[in-house]
Symmetry: C2
Subunit: 355 residues, 2 copies
């Protein structure tokens, strides 16, 4: 594909805040944006040229929409693989492709793929029945986390287990869904690699943010991570292997647990721009949203030079009201246009310079 | 008016690149945007939630549209004063108000108003017939510029005159429109003040850019201006007087000629965000587009701290093609989504760090 000209149309599957910020960057580069999502009033559609309301599983509608786009991307990892594959079968350019969805949607497939790439993860076992839990939990030292293989996010769909707990009850709490048991990791901190890979196969990593979670939800990312450069380099090398193995085009985030001794265990990856990279537009020469658009448009990547230290604070639920309508002296505010500030819901974020 | 809550709707009269960039900043602050303009496919509408296609003179249509908005602003100075006044008569909040339009649309009214505010301008004379030209041109030293009082922009609608030229011919070239004769100003450079004034009457000025024009079109703005701080302070003080006199709410740009001796002559003002302020989103804590939205939403202004030296280069006509699809190492690119890159047409701009 030759680089897209200004005025080309970028299709985004998904209508949330990531799509909204991608649409903003696409517009800045002179592209038109069309959103496909099932909701009639979604944050991304309100800043896009065009909006098709359809289920992701409505293959005819999605294909019809995609035919009007010059390239199609997605803003969340739960787009059905069959939908992406259907578009690709009909010669729609989908970036990133279907493989990244297929692998990232299933925690067992994801960790298996990471290990095959030579990237360490926590030990894990596939769980289909309560009887399958006892053996691995002993092997993992008597404590583990049981997670659904699919559809978990922000700490949902998981439960901590100790040896001797009622495993059947735990599995019922997850709806008896196909699950994964993961060894507990005594990590000293969590970091993520935000990597961009171009259509030419060139890749580039942002400085790693250190990420703080509360109740499974990201609260704060800070750069620099204060890890040794050698540790950061290993994390980037792992992300590069993963992106290459997926023949990935676009921005991808790979999350790591960092152990006391500097060892890295990959937790999961997201085949998309990522919450822990929300500081990049303010702090770097090229933000992650522009970078993703550049990559999928077949443009060369932009420089990721970081100009200053930064922290990104997520604003959950009604926390946004403390930052709207008031002075901007506490950082750059981004609100997502969500209608209902439910508790714990990601409603916006704040980026602060720390220099 | 209490500060607008996220999710409120901002109406923008005008659909060009300034509206497009305002819409982007409004979305970042969580607002919905509706555009009213006469063109079905305009740059701003493609990034807005809603678009009403109507003539600015269609008072019923404009009022009906405005009633769906929580505040109405404009992105260009040629919105009919009668339209703004009609909205205000019907209790629509229009920011900035009608006065700034009325004054800035007529070069004679504008210079008269500036002078009344104690702001010096080039000497000028109102011209309605060719016979009225000879006396002032002698008084101005034998050379002057004849401009239409209304509707000129980017160097259009003006002609240079020397004593003894065919004045009738010159006036015919301007369509015999009501005109103004302005004394030539032997300036050493041109600068502009980008000032923001809040609904509370608080105002703040960005560092002054020095502006280079070619054929009447802005090509480059650079900060800092390298003027003495005292000269910059005088320019800001003048802009503050003007904004106060207009009871202005929003961002306004006041252009100055700087003479060798440091004297300042105001040229014109624009009651809107301004091309010479396009470096502010990249270089400052709060960009001019966000600042305008904050002001009209009744929010406090953001800090205008400039973090680094910068230059802004306008990309005219097909110059954009040298910067799209290529590396981002030459600065931050913004394209306007205009369909036809006519020669001389402002199609985008580039912001470069000079530190």
């Amino acid at each position: 594909m030759t680089p897209l000209s200004p005025g080309s149309r970028i299709g985004i599957l998904g209508g949330g805040q990531l799509g909204r910020m991608l649409a903003g960057s696409a517009a800045q580069l002179g592209f038109d944006v069309s959103i496909l999502c099932p909701e009639a009033d979604c944050p991304a559609a309100r800043v896009a040229m065009d909006h098709r309301v359809a289920a992701y599983t409505d293959l005819d509608a999605v294909l019809d929409w995609a035919r009007g786009c010059d390239v199609v991307t997605y803003e969340f990892e739960n787009v059905p693989v069959t939908t992406a594959a259907h578009l690709i079968d009909h010669e729609i350019i989908v970036r990133p492709g279907a493989a990244a969805l297929e692998v990232s949607q299933d925690r067992v497939a994801e960790k298996t793929f990471l290990n095959q790439c030579g990237i360490d993860t926590a030990r894990f076992a596939e769980i289909n029945t309560a009887e399958e839990i006892a053996a691995p939990i002993e092997r993992f030292g008597g404590a583990a986390i049981l997670k659904t293989r699919r559809d978990g996010y922000d700490g949902k769909g998981q439960v901590r287990l100790a040896a001797g707990d009622d495993y059947a009850e735990a599995l019922r709490a997850l709806g008896n869904a196909p699950s994964i048991l993961e060894a507990m990791v005594p990590f000293s901190c969590e970091v993520s690699v935000i990597i961009a890979r171009s259509a030419e196969g060139e890749s580039i990593c942002y400085d790693l943010p250190r990420n703080d979670h509360t109740n499974g939800i990201l609260r704060r990312s800070v750069v620099p991570s204060q890890l040794d450069a050698e540790v950061e380099a290993r994390a980037c090398e792992a992300a590069r292997k993963l992106a290459d193995a997926l023949d990935y085009v676009g921005v991808l985030a790979l999350e790591f647990f960092v152990l006391e001794n500097g060892d890295l265990l990959a937790n999961e990856f997201a085949p998309r721009v990522h919450n822990s990279g929300h500081w990049t537009p303010e702090a770097c020469a090229t933000g992650q949203f522009e970078q993703h658009i550049r990559a999928i448009a077949g443009w060369p990547l932009g420089p990721v030079t970081r100009y200053h230290k930064a922290e990104m604070l997520n604003l959950l639920g009604d926390e946004i009201f403390a930052h709207s309508g008031v002075s901007a002296t506490d950082g750059v505010l981004t609100l997502y246009g969500k209608r209902h500030p439910k508790p714990g819901r990601k409603m916006g974020h704040l980026v602060r310079r720390l220099d």
